[in-house]
Structures are given as structure tokens and as C-alpha cells.
């Protein structure tokens, strides 16, 4: 598939190109082409041959689209960001020691390869390939997180790498179990054939496989209690990477779980998967809520809000019915919003040189445009209508109530309230009030338009989703929902 090869090759090329400018242009170009190809795929909907290892069903297409759009925005942002990083010496924000950044070719290259891997995840029709691709994303994003070469980012990278590898190992075990489940009827891990005769799978083995795969991809997706790597990685990596991680990567891991859930649903184990998904969804919500309430670092706060939304997604899929649509809509909106927020947080970091919430005051005074975006992002991420997130949350709640999961619904609402209160306090403290006077040495940071625009566009899209749902998107999402619920191709 062209979609994968282009970033792959260009990524390899990026390692070699020495000149910054052409490398950045290459980055932009690849992002553009990728987006164009994705749109093309949207329009012509390539049909999938059974047994083919790669192919785009509407579920994959949905996540591919999100990833591609996100990467476009990220690359626009990244170009300026890299220039910025070049200019000021890497002076550590909190502890104040000097460090030097990763060589830019490595960064850009890994960025592109990362895109290739994610594309592979969304496009793969074979659980083995899916697994390999997810593992690849882990390995390729590690250098991205380790962009600032100092010990805290190293620690974050190390934890990320180890925990995710363990998780991925579990996922591998799960894959093998799945194979064992299909052994009697001689099925491979090819999704199509699995789905078409899922009933012949061995139930016990299938359950075990789901458990292992859930733990594995759940680790990657950041469901509590497997989330432990996530805040560290998000807070220590540069804004672009954090945006991609929580906007695109988490979705890819989620896609992994969805694929298996598909198989289970086809095998008539929907109830079994549902319980687990709901339980861990609520668990993640709770964890995120409490950690946000006690948060001191705004990038970590954003990371925990990602955990919260992952919980919401898993809850939604677990509830089934209309909630699945809500969950998918929420996934799309959350990716856009959270990416935008991470972009903005990068600007705040550049302006204030700290990630401590207590140090940041009076954004509205010092960097008004950034502040407006920041508050907008807050209202969107907490599901204030009109926004896609609001619709998603509402649909999930509706499904929970009509499905008589009253306890789940109550917990869901309670933790949403806690999250709202916690984030509200943080955002207000940061945005309002008098800005502390700049010490004479540093010049006030001026956010360039190019770094504001991506976030603004993403937010606009999310608001639009709350007001008007384009027909094609509706088709894709409902198609994906049917895939998950019905489990038939």
C-alpha cells in the first residue's frame, strides 16, 4: 500500500538529508500526500480481498483519517517548533540543567516512520501484522519521547519502553492463544477468516486470548491500572510528540482491542468483553479524576485527561448499542481536541518555561490568543456543547441508562463532575489573574501564527462536529459501529 511506503521511504530518507529546510519541506510534503491519499481512500473505498493482509474497512479508515489529519497538523506545528528548539539552548524547565536535543534528522525520520507504523496498524487485516505494527510504533516513538536528552525524559522513555514491551508481550501471547483457539478449525490470525467462522473458535481459548490482548493493548492504550507510563511520557516529550501519542497512538492501541472485541462479538462473547471494558473504563475514569484533582503539572493533567477519555471510549464500547457510535465520535473529537491542547501547552511551556501550574498565571494578559485557545480547549475537552465530545458523552450516557447500567452511569457522571471541577480550577488559575512580571533577561515569547493555527483548526472541527455531522463521516462511523456490534465483515 502506497500509504505506508511513502512515509517509510521518506522517513529513511530523512535520516540522510542533512539540510534542515528540505527535511522540513519533506515532512510537510509527506504529511500532505498522506492526507491526500487518505482522502482518496475515503472517496473510492478500496474493496478488501479476503485473506489479504492489508485493507481498509470503515473502522480502519476512521482511525486512519484521524491519524492523517493529526499528522498534518502536527507537521505544520513541528516545522516551527523545531526551528524554535534550535534557537534556544535546551535549558531544563524545572531543574535548570543544560541538555542538548536529539539530532533533528533522527527526530524527523522517526516521526515519519512512526506515521508509517500507525498507518500499518489502521490498515492491517491480520492480527499478527497488527501486533507487529503496534510494537513498531512503540519502538519508533521511543526516540521521539527522548528528544530532550536529559535524565527525566530518559526515565520516561525507559518506563514507556519497558512497560509497553511487557504489554506487547502479553498481546503476543494473546495472539498465540487466539491461534490456539483457531487451531482445531485450522484458522490463521487473518481477521476476515476469523470473523467469518468465529463460531467454530474454541471459547475458553478465545476468552484467554481476549484477556491477554486486552491487557496488552490496554497497556498501550493507557487504561488504568496499565496507564502508569502515560503521564511520564506525555509530560516529558515535546508537545508535537505528546499530541501524536495521545491523539493517534492511543487510538491505534484501541483499534487493536476493537479488532479482538469484533472477533469475540462474532463468536457471541459480547457480554463477556462488555463487562471487562465497562469495569476498566470506570476504573480509568476514577484514576484520571483523582489524579487531575491533585495535579501540579499541566502536561500531566492533559495526559490524565487522555486516560479519562480512553476510559470513556472503553466504557462506550463495553456498553454497546448507541454507545459505540458515541465512543467512536468521542475518539475522533478527543484526538483533535487533545492534540490541539497539547500544541497550546507547548506554547505555554515556551512562554513560561515551566510545567508547574502554580508558576503559570495570567495567560490572558501575557499571551491572549494562546489563552483564548486554552480556555476553548478546556470547554471542548470537558464536553461543553456544541462539540463532538458532548454528543459522544451524551450518547454513551443515554445507552448506559437505557441499558439499565445505572451504577455505571452514576459513576460516570460523578467522575466527569470531578474531572470538570479539577480541570476548571487548573485552567482558571492559569488563565486568569495578573501575570507575574517577566525578569529582565528573557524577552516575552510571541506565539507564531503557524503554531496557533493547527490547534484553532482542530477546535473549529470539533465544534462543527457538534453542530453538523457530514454524511460521509456518519456513514463511516455507523459502518464502524456495525462492524463492532455485528462483528461481520
Amino acid at each position: 500500500m502506497l500509504l505506508m511506503l511513502i512515509p517509510l521511504l521518506s522517513g529513511l530518507a530523512a535520516f540522510l538529508i542533512s539540510d534542515d529546510r528540505c527535511r522540513r519541506i519533506l515532512l510537510l510534503a509527506v504529511a500532505g500526500i498522506h492526507l491526500a491519499l487518505t482522502i482518496a481512500a475515503l472517496v473510492v473505498r478500496p474493496e478488501m480481498l479476503p485473506g489479504e493482509w492489508f485493507g481498509l474497512d470503515s473502522l480502519g479508515l476512521l482511525f486512519l483519517g484521524v491519524t492523517s489529519v493529526l499528522f498534518m497538523g502536527a507537521s505544520v506545528y513541528a516545522v516551527k517548533y523545531l526551528a524554535l528548539e534550535k534557537r534556544d539552548p535546551g535549558e531544563d524547565s524545572d531543574e535548570g540543567f543544560i541538555f542538548n536535543n536529539e539530532p533533528e534528522p533522527v527526530f524527523t525520520g522517526c516521526l515519519l516512520l512512526f506515521l508509517a507504523a500507525m498507518t500499518a496498524v489502521t490498515a492491517s487485516r491480520h492480527l499478527g501484522i497488527l501486533w507487529a505494527a503496534v510494537e513498531a510504533t512503540t519502538l519508533l516513538s521511543a526516540p521521539l519521547i527522548y528528544f530532550h536528552r536529559h535524565k527525566r525524559s530518559l526515565e520516561a522513555t525507559w518506563k514507556y519502553l519497558l512497560i509497553c514491551s511487557v504489554g506487547i508481550a502479553m498481546a503476543l501471547m494473546g495472539n498465540l492463544f487466539l491461534g490456539a483457539a483457531g487451531l482445531r478449525s485450522g484458522l490463521a490470525l487473518d481477521l476476515g477468516s476469523l470473523l467469518s467462522n468465529a463460531m467454530s473458535l474454541d471459547q475458553a481459548w478465545l476468552k484467554a486470548a481476549f484477556l491477554f490482548l486486552f491487557v496488552g493493548y490496554g497497556t498501550k492504550m493507557g487504561l488504568a491500572p496499565f496507564h502508569t507510563w502515560l503521564p511520564d511520557a506525555h509530560s516529558e516529550s515535546p508537545a508535537v510528540v505528546s499530541a501524536l501519542l495521545s491523539g493517534a497512538l492511543l487510538n491505534c492501541a484501541f483499534l487493536g482491542i476493537l479488532r479482538v472485541a469484533q472477533v469475540c462479538a462474532a463468536a457471541g462473547l459480547a457480554g463477556f468483553t462488555g463487562d471487562i471494558l465497562i469495569l476498566f473504563g470506570i476504573l480509568s475514569l476514577m484514576t484520571a479524576a483523582f489524579f487531575i484533582l491533585a495535579q501540579k503539572d499541566y502536561k500531566r493533567m492533559l495526559a490524565y485527561s487522555s486516560i479519562e477519555h480512553m476510559g470513556i471510549l472503553s466504557l462506550g464500547v463495553g456498553l454497546g448499542g448507541g454507545a459505540v457510535y458515541g465512543a467512536l465520535l468521542n475518539a475522533v473529537s478527543h484526538s483533535l481536541t487533545k492534540a490541539g491542547l497539547f500544541f497550546v501547552s507547548g506554547l505555554i511551556l515556551a512562554a513560561y518555561k515551566t510545567k508547574q501550574i502554580s508558576e503559570v498565571r495570567g495567560l490572558i494578559r501575557r499571551v491572549p490568543r494562546t489563552a483564548v485557545l486554552w480556555m476553548t480547549g478546556f470547554f471542548l475537552i470537558t464536553g461543553t456543547p456544541p462539540s463532538g465530545i458532548f454528543l459522544g458523552k451524551f450518547m454513551i450516557l443515554k445507552a448506559a441508562v437505557s441499558g439499565r447500567h445505572y451504577a455505571a452511569a452514576a459513576a460516570y457522571l460523578f467522575f466527569l463532575t470531578v474531572v470538570f471541577a479539577g480541570m476548571g480550577r487548573i485552567f482558571l488559575d492559569m488563565t486568569l489573574g495578573e501575570a507575574a512580571a517577566l525578569n529582565e533577561a528573557e524577552k516575552p515569547f510571541k506565539a507564531s501564527r503557524q503554531m496557533l493555527i493547527p490547534a484553532a483548526c482542530f477546535f473549529a472541527c470539533v465544534v462543527l462536529l457538534g453542530l453538523y455531522m457530514p454524511a460521509w463521516l456518519n456513514d463511516i462511523i455507523s459502518g464502524a459501529r456495525d462492524l463492532i456490534i455485528g462483528g461481520t465483515v
Binding site: R152, E155, W158, K159, L161, V166, L176, A180, L183
Partner: protein
């Protein structure tokens, strides 16, 4: 032949125990390597007519696990001039007991997961699962970064014991991809370990615990 295979299983489990018990890093590395090699022999003994592709594949695995990984890790250990001791968080007897418990648990799980008759080797599931749990034991109770890599390797071994025993007939592409991933994984980890050893002049991950959200000093809620 199957008896031989089962002998190997027993050996694997014994290796687990010794991994849990052994104190010195070098020994741990060697033990893990040995386990990998033995695990790789498994498919050769398992079937009657072994396809040539399988042989090649197994040789590759043996080469990788028997030679390259130990070499990488030893090099890392020497480069980062780590002390010999594995410095477990809990005592060796405790680790052994846990390891046995893991074995018991996994054999229970094995009873819950009946293997289809196509698989000819009994005790596959318990062995692999207990190996995995041993890997977890190493990961959670050993202080050093290298031991954590080791634990990860042991987990991989466990997975392999299962995978190789079952899927020798199937197209090896998947397994190749898997293999590649593992290789890169260990490789990257090796690099990171170097970085760690450069940043903090030893590789005790206890030092790697700055990031977190726990501020014991102000654990009182003020609003």
C-alpha cells in the same frame, strides 16, 4: 521423541527456578540464554517430519538467543561496570516459593485451557505460563535495568515455548516479524541502558523514580 520434548519442558521449569534463585548477573544472563536455546530446540523434537524451513528458523533463534543477546547484555553490563549482584528486592527463598506458586497457578490454568489434540506435547501451557510469570518475577523484584531486560527476555522465552510448539506448521512470516521486533526491542533497550549508565553512573532503576504524582509532604487537601 515426545518424552524428550517433555524432558525439555522439565528443564525449562528447572531453569525458571534457578533463574529465581541465582544471585549473580552473569549467571542470570547465561541461564536465560540456555533457556532460550532449549526452547528453540523444542519444535525440532516435537514433530516427526520437520520441514526444512522450521530448521532454519530454529537455528536463527538459537543463534540469536544463545549468542547475540547474551553478548549484548554482557557488553552492556561490562560497559556500565555493574556490580555482580542482582540485588533482589525480596529474598531468594521467597522468589523460589513465588516461582513454584506461579508454576502451580499456571498448571491450574493449563487444566482450564485444554489444548486441541493437534498439539502433541503435554505440559506446554503450564511451562510457558510459569516461564512468563518467572519473567514477571524478575521484572518486579530485581533492582537493575539489566535484570529487567532479562525478565523481559524470559517472558519472550515463555511465549516462544508456546508459540513454537504450536505453530510450526503455519507460515513462519508472523513469527519472523515477531522475532524482528524482539531483536529490535532488546537492541533499543541495550542502547537505553547505555544512556542510563551515562546519565546516572549505575543502572539501578530505583534512581529512575523521579517522575510521579505523589507528593507525600502535602497530602492534605486544602481548597
Amino acid at each position: 521423541m515426545t518424552t524428550l520434548a517433555e524432558l525439555i519442558i522439565v528443564a525449562v521449569i528447572l531453569l525458571n527456578l534457578s533463574l529465581a534463585a541465582s544471585g549473580s548477573l552473569a549467571t542470570c544472563i547465561r541461564l536465560a540464554a540456555a533457556q532460550g536455546v532449549i526452547a528453540a530446540l523444542l519444535p525440532l523434537l516435537a514433530g516427526h517430519g520437520v520441514p526444512s524451513g522450521t530448521i532454519v528458523f530454529c537455528c536463527a533463534v538459537i543463534l540469536l538467543k544463545g549468542a547475540i543477546f547474551p553478548w549484548l547484555l554482557t557488553r552492556a553490563r561490562v560497559k556500565a561496570n555493574v556490580s555482580r549482584d542482582a540485588e533482589p528486592v525480596i529474598g531468594y527463598p521467597a522468589s523460589i516459593i513465588l516461582c513454584l506458586g506461579a508454576f502451580a497457578a499456571s498448571s491450574w490454568l493449563g487444566t482450564r485451557l485444554p489444548l486441541p489434540e493437534t498439539a502433541r506435547v503435554a505440559w506446554i501451557v503450564p511451562a510457558s505460563l510459569s516461564t512468563i510469570f518467572t519473567g514477571f518475577l524478575l521484572l518486579t523484584t530485581r533492582g537493575k535495568a539489566i535484570t529487567q531486560v532479562l525478565g523481559y527476555l524470559v517472558i519472550e522465552n515463555g511465549i516462544y515455548i508456546f508459540g513454537l510448539a504450536l505453530f510450526v506448521e503455519q507460515p513462519l512470516m508472523v513469527e519472523m516479524a515477531i522475532l524482528l521486533d524482539v531483536f529490535v526491542a532488546v537492541f533499543v533497550m541495550g542502547i537505553t541502558i547505555f544512556h542510563i549508565s551515562r546519565e546516572f553512573d549505575h543502572i539501578d532503576t530505583a534512581e529512575l523514580s523521579q517522575l510521579g504524582d505523589w507528593y507525600p509532604k502535602q497530602s492534605g487537601g486544602e481548597k
